[in-house]
């Protein structure tokens, strides 16, 4: 047994029924807000985590790759329900905005006011521009394929340039004890994190530095490819969870 929406009954409600439907909408809005802050934030904190927490982790190699790749998951899953079933083109923006509310509240009250990390050290990244493009593209094309390829790619490619105005200043070079660091690195060395060993604070790896200015676009395009694949995967995960069956037993 599963729920089937009777199409013949779709008609505008009036009077009490209209007010009832509107009241239900408001209840769902409150429910959805806390649901997506709580669930998406936990998912994000435990998979992207450190790249979003700390300014010195916002490197050119992993940050532009990991953040959009994990960040596109819940937006895709929620779009598959809100767009497919309700024609609401806001699933991605809703998820990302909810995540941003959750991270900001935590960074201010858990990091800054409790443990005295400077707020500049723990600023969250934004994915709002990519989410807006993702929602707009789905609405305009109504196509999972086009949104996966172009929306997924845009979500990844927009990430670094739209965050640059927030984090660019922390990439300024400084000289400390005869070594050249970025200001972000300096934050990492000045504010001791007891749980984080020294080797994890040297973020960039391999021959990256010989790649110079090409490292960031390379990471972004790699992320674009992976996001194009991650998007449809999570679209179908969202669909699977939004099952409407009633079972005889569990």
């Amino acid at each position: 047994m599963s729920a089937q929406i009777p199409i013949s009954t779709f008609k505008p409600y009036r009077g009490e029924k209209a007010r009832l439907a509107r009241a239900y909408d408001y209840l769902i809005l409150v429910l959805a807000l806390f649901l997506f802050i709580g669930s998406f934030h936990l998912h994000f904190a435990l998979t992207v985590g450190d790249w979003d927490f700390w300014v010195d982790w916002k490197d050119r190699q992993w940050w532009p790759l990991v953040t959009p790749l994990i960040g596109i998951t819940f937006p895709a899953a929620v779009q598959s329900v809100l767009w497919d079933k309700f024609r609401l083109p806001l699933g991605a923006t809703l998820c990302v905005a909810a995540l941003l509310i959750g991270t900001w509240v935590t960074r201010v009250f858990a990091y800054h006011y409790w443990n005295y990390f400077p707020i500049n050290m723990v600023l969250p990244a934004t994915m709002i521009p990519g989410a807006l493009v993702l929602d707009t593209l789905l609405m305009l094309t109504n196509s999972l394929t086009i949104t996966s390829i172009f929306g997924g790619a845009a979500f990844a490619l927009l990430f670094y340039p739209t965050n640059w105005p927030i984090f660019g200043m922390f990439h300024q070079p400084v000289e400390v004890a005869n070594s050249q660091l970025t200001i972000a690195d300096l934050f990492g060395f000045q504010y001791i994190r007891t749980g984080m060993p020294e080797y994890l604070r040297i973020i960039e790896r391999g021959t990256l530095r010989t790649y110079g200015q090409y490292a960031t676009p390379l990471a972004a395009f790699c992320s674009a490819l992976l996001c194009s694949l991650m998007y449809p995967l999570w679209w179908y995960i969202g669909k699977w969870f939004a099952d409407t069956r009633y079972l005889k037993s569990i």
Partner: protein, 257 residues
């Protein structure tokens, strides 16, 4: 003076502040208020006593300020679980076949409020206190599974949202015909999946016996929590089930201004 008489008779009726479908709204708002006071109170307690008495689990003060809180939490959790689940089960509707459409609509609103309270608890457990765990463990050495943040996050917040999710599940199962006839798959996923996050505490703490540090938060020993929270996406299915049934029920009641 007929008009005056009419006014007098109307004024003796109790004022209807809320429509029939929102009769449980005050309880819902009180639920939000009570939870907010509890969570903010716990955060203030951490602010007051974590640095002073919560850095070393071998200190006698740790026992006094933190382990005592842990035991109190366990007692509260046991009382709330047995109280709410017992109440919902013993007061179940035994005559669901006779349920009027208006009453069923009202109950769908109340179920939505239960799920909303559940998601509010998921917010505090999954968002605020979860990420605060990283912040605290970059300041304190985690020399015990009962750190100043774990005592609140793992042993109070997690069980509390499990209890509230269980309340939503039981409410639906005992008071709404469709949920009583069959077991809703999305509601079950949305309640039992996040319950597995509580179970994942065991895996997490076992992993941390190897690394007492929080080297990095995105480590694989934390991914059990991640898989559990994906199941919260089942709420999309609950919404579809609810909307579908409400459309049917609204067709069965007369239009009113």
């Amino acid at each position: 003076m007929a008009t005056t008489t009419e006014h007098v008779s109307l004024s003796t009726e109790p004022p209807k502040l809320l429509p029939w479908y929102l009769i449980d709204l005050p309880k819902y708002l009180k639920g939000f208020g009570i939870l907010t006071v509890i969570y903010v109170g716990l955060r203030l307690y951490q602010g007051a006593f974590a640095i002073e008495h919560g850095l070393d689990s071998t200190e006698p003060a740790f026992e006094q300020y933190w382990m005592r809180l842990f035991y109190i939490e366990l007692a509260i959790i046991a009382a709330v679980a047995s109280g709410y689940w017992g109440y919902l089960w013993t007061t179940r509707d035994r005559n669901l076949e006779q349920l009027a459409p208006k009453e069923e609509i009202r109950r769908y609103f109340t179920l939505t409020m239960w799920i909303s309270i559940y998601t509010f608890a998921v917010y505090w457990a999954g968002s605020y206190f979860a990420e605060q765990d990283n912040s605290w463990h970059q300041v304190a050495i985690r020399d015990t599974p009962f750190t100043a943040n774990h005592i609140i996050e793992f042993y109070f917040n997690f069980p509390l949202y499990v209890i509230l999710g269980g309340c939503a599940w039981l409410y639906a199962r005992t008071r709404l015909p469709l949920y009583a006839k069959g077991i809703s798959l999305p509601l079950t996923l949305a309640v039992f999946g996040p319950f597995m996050i509580l179970v994942s505490v065991g895996f997490n703490e076992w992993g941390h016996t190897f690394w007492f540090r929080e080297e990095f938060f995105a480590a694989p020993i934390h991914w059990g929590f991640v898989i559990g929270v994906w199941f919260a996406l089942g709420v999309g299915g609950i919404l579809l089930q609810g909307v579908t049934r409400l459309i049917e029920l609204l067709d069965r009641i007369p239009d009113a201004e």
